[in-house]
Amino acid sequence: MSHRETVVNSINGIKKGPKVLKLYMEMCVKCGTCASVCPVYNGKQEPKYNPANRSDLIRNIYKKHNTMAGKLLGGLGGAKDFDATAFEQWQERFYSCTACRRCAQFCPFGIDNSVITRKGRTILDALGMTPASLQKVVNVSLEKRNTDGASADAFKAAVAFIEEEMRDEHGTDIKIPVDVVGAEYFYVPPSGDVLVNIEATMGIAKVFHVLDMANKWTMSSQCFDGANYGLFTGNDAQMKAINGPVVEEAKRLGVKYLLMGECGHAFRVMQRMMQPGKWWGELPFQVINCMEWTADHINTGKLQFDKSKNPQPVTCHDPCNFAKSCNIIEAPRVILRACCSDFREMTPHGAENWCCGGGGGLSAMNNIKEFRMTVSGIKKRDQIHATGAAYVAAACSNCKRQINQLVEHHKMGVSVGGVHDLLSRAILVDGNAARRVDYYQ
C-alpha cells in the first residue's frame, strides 16, 4: 500500500468513529484560542506550531473525502487532498505537540488536539515512521518489560542499594519486599525511580515502614516499570502488549491494590484507559496512586515530618497526565506542604499548569532537545523562574528529565526531583528524619 492509501484510508475510518475524532474533524471554528494557550506556540509563534494548523493536516484530508462541503466545494469547503510533500512534514509536526490537553481546557468547544495528534502518530506508526528514539523505547519495553532494558538482577541490586542507603539514613532496616506472593500492595513506579532517581522509592518504602505495613507490599523483579510508550507512538496493540504483563503480574501476586508510582502517563493508561476499557476484563485488584495513598495517611495524621530538612523554596510542577487527565492535583500538595518549609505555587498551577514541554513522549527524544529547550519548554522555564524556587517537584519521570535539561540549559541553578523524594528527606522514622543526604545536591 502506498503512503497515500494508508493515510487516506485511516483518515476515512474516522467517519465511523470514535465520536471524538469525527466531531473534531467537523467542528473547529478556527478561532485561534488553542494557539493562545499552547505551550509550544507560546514558545515560538510559527504557523507549524499552531495547534489548529497541525490538526488541519488530518482535518483537510478528512473533509476532502468525507464531508459534503469538501466534496462539493473543495478548498472552499476546507478540503485539501493528501500531498506527498506535505506528508514529509508529518513526523516533525505530530512530534512537536506535547499532547498536554491544555487547548481542550480553553477551547470554546472543548476540542482536544492531543486526540488528533495521537491519530497522526498512529498513522505514522503504521507506516514505520515513529521516531527511532521512541520506537526503541517501545521495543525495549516489549522485550524486557521496562524502558531501561534492565534485568531482574539489576533490579534486585538496585533494591539492595536502596535498602542500604535507608539503613545509613535511619540506622534501621527499612525493607523493600520483592516478589512476595500474597502481598496487598504491588508498587509499580517508573523504572527510573528504582534504577536512577531512587529517592521516590525510598519515600514509598519509608511510608510503608512507618505505617507498620512493611510486610504488606511488594515490588516485582519481573515488572518494575509502569511506563508505556505505546500511548505516545499511537500504537494501541503495543500499548496493550506493554500493559498486559503488569496486570498479569498483579494477578499472579494476588494483590488487592496496584499502587502506581510517580509516573503520570502510566497511571493514566492503567486507571483511565485499561481499567474502564476492560482490556483484560474485570480486575481482581484496584488501581491506586501513590500520591493519593500517602496524602490520605498524612491527612489522618499517621505520618510526621521534620520540615527543616527541606528548607529550600519548593514548587510543584503538575504533570499533565496526572492533573488534567486523572484529577490528581491536591495530593502532591498535601505531601509537599507537610514536608517542606517553603512551598510555593506556580502561576497558573493545578490542571491549568503549563506543560513541561516534554509531554507526549517528546522528553525522551534527544534529537529534538533544541526544540524542547528553546520552544516547548519556555513557558515552564519562565514559570519556574518566577517562583524563585530552588527545587521543582514533578511526579513524572518524563517531566523530570525535561525540566532537568531545562534548568541546566538555561543555567537556572534549580534542582529537580519527585514528590516522595522530599518526603523521604523529611519523614520521621522512629522519631528521626534521615541523617545523611549527601548523594543528592
Partner: protein, 236 residues
Amino acid sequence: MSGIELLVGSVLPYVAAVAFVGGIAYRFSTWSRTPQPGKLTLYPTEGWDLSSAAKEAMFFPNLFKGDKVLWLIAWTFHAALALALLGHLRVVTGFFDAAFRSVGLSLSHAGFAMLSKIAGGAAGTALVVAAIALLLRRLFLPRVREISSGPDFFALLLLVAVIASGDALRFGSSPVDLAETRIWARSLVMLSPRAPTNPAILLHALFAELLICYLPLSKLMHFGGLFYTMPLVRRS
C-alpha cells in the same frame, strides 16, 4: 412576478427550510450514532448536565478563560444575533405585539415601533461591529490568519452580507412595511407564496437563504456541535 421575486420569495425559502432542517438532522444523527469507546474527561470538571450545558451555550466560560478579547467579540455577536432573531419573529408575525398585550402591557403602535427601533438598532449595530471585528482578527492576528482558509472567510463574508443588507433595511431611508413581510411569511406557511417586491428585502432574504443553506454544511454547525463535543471532556 419577476424571476428574482420567484426565486427569492417563493422557491429558496422552501429549499432553505429543507436544507436546514434536513441537514442539521443528518449531522446530529451521524454525531449521535458514532460510537465513542472510552472517556476523555478533563479535570477538574463540574460534569455535564442541563445547567452546565446552558451555561456553556449562553456564556462561553471556557472561551472567557482562554481569550477575553475574543470572548467579548464572540459573546456580543451571539447575543446580538439572538436578539436579532427574536426581532425577526416580530417582523414575520405579530407575536410580540400580541404577547405584550396579553400580559396587559398595551403599547401603542408607535411605542412598539420605538422599542423595535432601539432593540433592533442596537442588535444591528452590535452585529456589524462584531462581525467586522471577527474579520479583522482573522485578517490581521497571525495566530488566526495562519489557520484561516476558504470556509472561514466565506462564512464570515456571508454573515456580513446578511447583516449589512439587514442593517440597510433597519437604518435605510425607506422603512420596511411589516405588513408585507408578515403576509409573505404567512403565505409561505400556507404554501401559496406571495413574494415581497421591495428589492432591499429581497436582497437581504437572498443572503439569508444562502446562509441557511450553507449552515448545515459548515463549521457554523458549532451552535449544536457544542452539545456533542463538550460532554466528551466534561462528563465525569
